[in-house]
Amino acid sequence: MTLWFIRGLRRGVVTTRYPGRPDGSARYLPTPPAFRPQALTRQAADEVAAICPSGALHRDGSVLVYDVGACTSCGRCAAQAPDAVTASGEFELATTDRSALIKKIPIRGEAP
């Protein structure tokens, strides 16, 4: 109990200041992927769409359609195509409009 009390004094307030200030722990969160259009070939797009477990990715012609709302941030796409996919680090994704969560990523060489 005493140790606990002293430790509390030494460490100070642990409560995050978010949303007033950024929270340091945010960078450890698993976050949805971000895509590099330069490296996103049609083959890579098809591969990641096939491997996505929650159906958040599918290719619509020359674009890769990415539904952030359906994404579970599992990281399989990043593992499959490490050149084309990386973690976005974005977690402030709440929105009042469902359609705002659907992103269209152009595929390299096929951009209209």
Binding site: T15, Y18, P19, Y28, L29, T86, F91, A94, D97, R98
Partner: protein, 172 residues
Amino acid sequence: MAEDARTVERAAELRADIARQFGRSLHIRTLDTGSCAVCEQEIRLLTAPHYDLHRLGFFFTPAPRHADLLLVTGPMIRAFAVAARKTYDAMPGPKVVVATGACALGGVYPADPFTYGTVDAVLPVDVWIPGCPPSPLALLHGLGVAVGRLAEKVRDLPFTAADYPERSRGDS
């Protein structure tokens, strides 16, 4: 699309209303419509010392009669639709529905004879919080969006890597 526009307009009005009336005391009723309980764990973490939801004036209540905000998790199984509807009806207005997690947003389960697959099929959702599960920080952000105290910027997020700096953290 006209309906969508109206919905968006209504949601904006609602948020303004909530921000005015419940800026510092907003009561949350959570509703589990068939989730795997991970979302619930994250929601529960909101009351932990690190996040301390109450400092922002949010409180959990067990009775929808006292609730202003309905925090829905899970893919909305069909057996639960009546209860969800009753819960929503029992809440006094103005009220806001927040769909939480990929299941609730329609990501994980397709509609089938047992689930609707998305909360939107039963309740008029005002705020969507993606994530599987959404972290407590994401939930805090979502609640802020719901009361109109945080701006949303999702529409402008491109999700192309050029806009994100390379991270030191190793997903590689």
